[in-house]
């Protein structure tokens, strides 16, 4: 197998890895680094279950080669909590039951994080616009939107 060197920061930790050319970012995370919080659902770039942040922007880790992220910084769902203390978005999802089966949840939370970092006071419409691209086949959308809006309030210190 043809491999190349990859220098990457994941959840604040620096890695120097040797990676196969066709390895997708999501496969690097899940298979090589055992960061299985990031999910694969549709495997066709449509569902956003695999969403992670690259340099602070939400992207689909199933649609990016691991080698394309060389020199960049990745944040996955495992990097959100501070030790045992959950991130306010995670807290809000627990409190508001912002999930049913939970499979889409890591992706949804990462997109919510990107949204709130860019816009701390989104309107309900703005939250819906971002969340609508995520496929949640349990149909938990109303509680997802409520969770994100409440997390925004908490993060603003209200």
């Amino acid at each position: 197998m043809i491999t190349k060197d990859l220098s990457i920061t994941i959840n604040g930790k620096q890695y120097r890895l040797s990676v196969g050319a066709r390895t997708l970012l999501v496969d690097l995370l899940r298979n090589d680094l055992e960061l299985t919080g990031t999910k694969v659902a549709c495997d066709s770039g449509s569902c956003l279950a695999c969403t992670v942040l690259v340099d602070g922007k939400a992207v689909k880790s199933c649609s990016i080669l691991a080698l394309q992220v060389d020199g960049r910084s990745v944040l996955t769902i495992e990097g959100l909590a501070n030790g045992d203390k959950l991130h306010p978005i995670q807290e809000s999802f627990v409190k508001n039951h912002g999930l049913a089966c939970g499979y889409c949840t890591p992706g949804v939370i990462m997109s919510a994080k990107a949204l709130l970092d860019e816009n701390p006071s989104p309107t309900e419409d703005e939250v819906r616009h971002v969340i609508s691209d995520h496929l949640c086949r349990c149909g938990a959308y109303p509680k997802i939107v409520k969770s994100v809006l409440e997390a925004a309030e908490i993060m603003r210190g209200e």
């Binding site: 050319a21 066709r22 770039g45 939400a58 060389d70 691209d133």
Partner: protein, 290 residues
Amino acid sequence: MMKNFEYLAPKTVKDALTLLAGDQGDSKVIAGGQSLLLLMGHGLVTPKYLIDIKGISSLNYLQKTQSGLEIGSLTTHRSVETSPLIRNGFCVLAQMEGALASLETRNWGTLGGNVCHADPKGDVCPVLIALGAKVKMISLRGERTMAVEDFSTGYFETALNPDELLAEIQVPNPAPRTGTAYHKFTMIEGDYAIVSTTVSITLDASNEKCKDARIVLGAVAPAPMRAKRAEKVLVGREIKDSLLQEAAQIASEEAEPVSDMHASDEYKRELVKVLVKRVGKEALEKAGMA
């Protein structure tokens, strides 16, 4: 399972062009790869060498010049969507980008990648064609420009030579009294177009008669197409509802849709008829205010 390939990541345009100059027909350029990796994952595209240009920062820019906008091919969809430079006269670009796939795709995918992918259902090219945009292609042999309209030659095919790279998209300033409107008909937000329609109308100095018109249809032919017979109906005349109706009817006859899982060809023709009239009316209103 994706077939293996050799990954090459040139850091400069010159390095990329040198690699392309030596291409034996087995290289493929990847930018954001939001469409390409899907095709590679299904084994539909199997390059021996994958040339990743995403890291070439000199092709990532959006600037306003006297003649219009110059957009580097590696500018992301999201950068176009949110650029303050496109609010004046190019709002339709932001509108199109805002409905292109998901935010996650727009954050990584590039304008040039989308244009080169040449998906007949692609969002970008029809709007660029309506705006009269051009592409600049470069190679070690030199550079050339071409209308986007001529660049998309067919089903996933473009006029790009194997040794060339799409470097820049040039969008001219709209002529005075020009309005451009766009609508993408989809099953769900951000989906591929079932039919997309872009109409650009330029009024004459009296603000009454149509001086120039472009009607561009997406997803109803192997490449984005101008409904040229329908355009001719509008040019030189005062645009009223009945005239738009006539143009819409002709555009629906010019379209070459095929049935698929989303809609029959008859349904798509009907959509063209409805959308050309509706979007044409919106373009006309905008032209009157421009």
